[in-house]
């Protein structure tokens, strides 16, 4: 009996420890999430924007960083922002002060598209 209780107790302890160790991921996986008033990053690599859809609070500064070995640009489809050509390691930042959905693309390789959703 003692042994069974001991085993149950041990199992409960192990389960509890695992539950505490497993991170509860508050961040959505399909769309990145940024904290209010801070910064968020979009990585440009392999002819794609990552994350392709980024959701941020109003006031966030989003920085695009080109890690590809080819230049790219970041151009809003509605004329809201436009970077110059970003070579490898170049960056472009924009502060999103108003809510909305901002679609953009690379004007050199227009198949590359992305969105910043500001809430």
């Amino acid at each position: 009996m003692k042994e069974i209780l001991y085993r149950i107790g041990l199992a409960a302890l192990v389960i509890t420890v695992f539950a505490l160790l497993t991170p509860v991921d508050k961040h959505a996986h399909a769309a990145g999430q940024g904290q209010a008033g801070t910064n968020a990053t979009v990585k440009i690599d392999n002819f794609s924007f990552g994350p392709a859809a980024l959701t941020v609070p109003v006031g966030t500064t989003v920085t695009w960083s080109n890690q590809d070995d080819i230049p790219h640009t970041v151009v809003s489809t509605d004329g809201v922002f436009k970077s110059k050509a970003l070579d490898t390691d170049d960056k472009f930042s924009f502060v999103f002060g108003k809510p909305g959905t901002y679609s953009y693309f690379c004007s050199i390789h227009p198949k590359m598209t992305g969105q910043v959703i500001v809430q």
């Binding site: 392999n46 002819f47 590809d68 230049p71 489809t77 050509a85 050199i108 390789h109 227009p110 598209t113």
Partner: protein, 322 residues
């Protein structure tokens, strides 16, 4: 010209004078240096290793020019740290052709970042070509930041709109098109209605026996849309050329040799003089493809084109740099 039967692929399977199976076979050989020549609609293949037996006079025909492409001056990453050296090697190769080209076509991405010094360097290197006339069309890298204003200031004399134009050489009508400006998000290459209207007007009074050569940066056929390798409104452009018996479309952009024949139209893309790119779908993205240094030059190259009056299409020969 002495040619053994085994070098000739003459099978008229579809009874339309076009040897499609032979063409596919020839394309496989092209990588190792075969000359695939369409003569009277029938494909013949000549091995480059027996080039010394060729009758240059018979093959030269009446018009000879060379195409180079995608020099990307300014690129300096591991895929090729010295694009100036490989462009010089391409010019040397063009100068060494047994049939001297009368002029060169550069099908775009002259520069890597549209910087003045990059264009200057290309101009300097091209001065070393025996052929003094070079005709350009811009690539998407040449119009970065200014929608092509600098490109047109340098190379756009006599062109219209974003830089399109046409000219004639020995009865062959050449059309340079611009499909890298005003690109839409998620789209492919784009010609635009103004250019299409100009093209329709430009060719409408030409006799259907006039050989046509169209050159533009991004392929005018759908090579691989996922990677942007195509032009959204090229079908309309090609519809204006339906009446012509011989149309050759020369493109760049994809940094590898590819060819397709559709009726009277031969589509051909040239290798880059700077760096190769992967075959469609064979990599995550169409970026520069790194290969062992000793292999690089075998994946770069030039294209030699000869026109023989009375034959259907142009003879297009690709050569590697090394």
């Amino acid at each position: 010209m002495s040619q053994s039967k085994k070098d000739e692929l003459v099978h008229d399977h579809n009874h339309d004078g076009v040897d499609r199976r032979g063409f596919l076979k020839c394309m496989a050989w092209a990588g190792t240096g075969a000359l695939c020549v369409m003569q009277g609609g029938v494909l013949k293949s000549y091995s480059m290793s027996r080039a010394n037996e060729w009758n240059a006079a018979k093959m030269a025909g009446e018009l000879s020019f060379a195409q180079i492409s995608d020099s990307h001056m300014g690129f300096n990453k591991p895929a090729n740290p010295d694009v100036a050296a490989t462009l010089k090697a391409a010019v040397d190769k063009v100068n060494a052709l047994s049939i001297q080209p009368e002029f060169l076509l550069h099908t775009g991405d002259i520069s890597h970042l549209a910087k003045p010094e990059e264009f200057d360097t290309v101009d300097q290197i091209l001065k070393g070509a025996v052929a003094k006339d070079v005709f350009f069309v811009p690539g998407e890298h040449d119009v970065i930041g200014d929608d092509g204003q600098q490109y047109r200031d340098r190379y756009g004399k006599g062109t219209k709109g974003e830089g399109w134009y046409s000219f004639d050489k020995k009865g062959v009508h050449f059309v340079g098109l611009v499909n890298v400006v005003n690109l839409k998000a998620g789209g492919l290459g784009n010609l635009g209605s103004e250019q299409l209207e100009w093209l329709e007007d430009d060719v409408k009074n030409l006799k259907s026996s006039t050989p046509i050569v169209v050159f533009a940066h991004i392929p005018l056929w759908s090579v691989y849309p996922e990677w942007g390798w195509g032009t959204d409104d090229s079908a309309q452009a090609l519809s204006y050329l339906k009446k012509f018996g011989s149309v050759s479309v020369l493109n760049g952009h994809i940094h590898q040799i590819m060819q397709k024949v559709e009726g009277n139209v031969t589509f051909h893309t040239a290798a880059s003089t700077a760096f190769p790119q992967p075959q469609p779908g064979k990599a995550d993205s169409p970026g520069p493809m790194k290969v062992p240094a000793e292999q690089l030059r075998s994946l770069l190259g030039i294209t030699d084109v000869n026109f023989v009056r009375g034959q259907h299409a142009l003879a297009i020969v690709d050569s590697q740099l090394g």
